[in-house]
Symmetry: C2
Subunit: 346 residues, 2 copies
DNA sequence: TATTTTTACGCAAACGTTCCCGACATCGAT
DNA sequence: ATCGATGTCGGGAACGTTTGCGTAAAAATA
């Protein structure tokens, strides 16, 4: 009991017409008489004919589908970005295919290969934290597969990129901590070679420098799995407190890292902000429900997804090869809540 | 500059062999000499040959891909369930395609059609809150497309289903509120015709009944969009407090509904649990960070995804039509925290 | 009426693959 | 030397669609 949709051939047979005539009638070609067209159209409607997209893909070598590769969807930033992507793709006639790399380089390469061979028309990518080289993207990109990077990007491939202003977001957060009176500010971030980590670290450093606070390498802790694994975050947090200088604030860079850091602090019995203040990059909409309400750097995730998709579709639909690439930088939003406010009693 | 992968035909031409021979050599057919096989295999490896999955789909009418339809991925339950689905699908050789209905019936029908015509081998579905009739599924299902429902299921289609024990989960939560001393317990739930809503409402009623508390229709509020829209939840919460009898606890049924309800309570200035206690279905792992820490009914989302996928793949790979269908019911977990504990001062 | 143009349609190739069937060598057995 | 068996391989159809080209009949023109 196989699933057998009606084909153009079936229609032709039923109506005593050739497949080419039916095909042309369906697309309203001028060289088909109006009676025949009407006949075909009505019969097709009646039989609920749907063109087989697979056959079309085979023939036209395109799909009207976009591949999305992110580390994980259980991440507020990415699920919001995906909604932005869908909102554009959907009414431009594109379908999206989502895959998760789970921060694994191997998995990412498999996914990329799979998507390419399934003829997605283009790729929207935020690279995994395990990715240190980009040949799997480069090969396909050079063969003509359009790719737009967002969030976690790479300078190794010259294409459109869409990111938040990570430098400024980090700068603002750190400056806020400093002007609130915190002195020893640790920085908890993702894998060190990721673009977001580098940019946010620079913003953090710049803010310290502006206020003549010496940068201390040991106050920076990296989560090489992007915060996916609880243990790595817990260890990083513990490392921060091992430091002889008493840390009084933490700036976290990353959705999962921020929330997991707070979980760890709870577990360690650290009071926020009395023992340690926290502000971090996260797009959770539950931050105000936390105890205490969490100060955050919020990224315009939805918009980032939208812009990236528009750029990708423009690449796909461009007749001539695109040579002028841009990197769009969208602004972050600093939301101050209690977790980063110095308590008056101290 | 189109993206042109190497085909079996290219190999044949380069090696002076027919496509059939190359095809057979690649699959290691016994009727090809070992030298030819070696020749072909080595050349294919060198040229990085990858079979074109689209051509295979066209020919074999299958894909090795599973379609997932959920209302939204920015929902802890579903993102966890998807991870469960992927964990099984991935090492059974299936690829997954995720689409969001955004709780819209129209969108759901479009997605279903699209997935079916793209020849997914089967569907994993949690229906949208806007879905009141199931013809779009039924048509395909009767034509032989395997479908497994999870979470939000329907009795109208006789197939495998995987759900949490919603009745018991709701019963336990409600009973817990009662035995903690709460008297007027409201119930905030999703669209009324959804299976999850019905089952959870029954559990709620049963617990009330066990303790001889009269069921009051007006204490039940429905969010017809499943809690996706902030305003509908806010209105529902306000309605609860309009009731003359003073509500002292709320049992919420649904991930988004629970979190949004708490946001609304904050906004309304209601203290939890002093003014109103809260316990709800949600799979967020941030519940303990809330103020106060939130009591929850947690569903085994990951496992539900796994089981549903195993059942679906068994249907797909079954030689004979499957006639024996089962509904797997997995147990929920009650996690008591402060949001549902009566304060001693009261 | 003879010729050209138009109208309306069919044939067949192509996209990449698999697989049924047939073809041809080689070889051992008769 | 002939025969059947065996081992290797190619031809071609099929999956569903589009499209260039060819062509018959009908209409328009001379």
């Amino acid at each position: 009991m196989k699933f057998e949709p009606v084909t153009i051939k079936d229609i032709g047979k039923a109506l005593g017409l050739s497949t080419s005539t039916v095909s042309r009638a369906l697309r309203g070609s001028y060289e088909i008489s109006s009676e025949t067209k009407k006949l075909v159209l009505e019969y097709a409607e009646k039989m609920n004919y749907r063109p087989n997209p697979i056959a079309l893909s085979l023939k036209e070598r395109r799909n009207h589908s976009l591949g999305i590769i992110v580390c994980e969807i259980a991440n507020n930033f990415f699920s919001q970005a995906i909604n932005g992507i869908e909102s554009i793709a959907y009414n431009r006639g594109y379908h999206v295919i989502i895959s998760q790399s789970h921060e694994s380089f191997e998995r990412e390469t498999v996914i990329v290969d799979h998507m390419a061979s399934r003829s997605v028309d283009g790729l929207l990518v935020s690279v995994s934290s395990g990715t240190k080289e980009y040949d799997h993207f480069k090969n396909l990109y050079e063969k003509g597969l359009p790719i737009v990077f967002f969030d976690r990007v790479t300078s190794e491939i010259n294409t459109h990129k869409v990111i938040a202003d990570n430098f400024k977001g980090a700068f603002d957060a750190t400056e806020h901590l400093i002007t609130s009176g915190f002195k020893r500010i640790a920085h908890l971030t993702s894998a060190p070679y990721l673009s977001i980590s580098i940019e946010r670290l620079e913003g953090y450093k710049a803010a310290l420098s502006k206020y003549n606070i010496e940068f201390d390498e040991k106050l920076v802790q990296y989560c090489h799995n992007g915060g996916m694994i609880y243990e790595e975050v817990e260890e990083a947090v513990k490392n921060i407190f091992k430091h002889k200088a008493k840390v009084d604030a933490i700036f976290t860079a990353g959705d999962r890292i921020t929330t997991t850091c707070i979980q760890t602090l709870h577990k360690l019995g650290k009071k926020i902000p009395e023992d340690v203040a926290v502000i971090g990059f996260t797009n959770t909409n539950l931050a105000e429900l936390f105890h205490p309400p969490l100060s955050v750097v919020r990224q315009p995730a939805f918009e980032i997804g939208q812009v990236a998709t528009e750029l990708l579709i423009s690449m796909i639909e461009s007749k001539r090869p695109v040579v002028d690439f841009e990197t769009r930088v969208l602004q972050t939003e600093l939301v101050i809540r209690e977790s980063s406010i110095k308590t008056s009693t101290t």
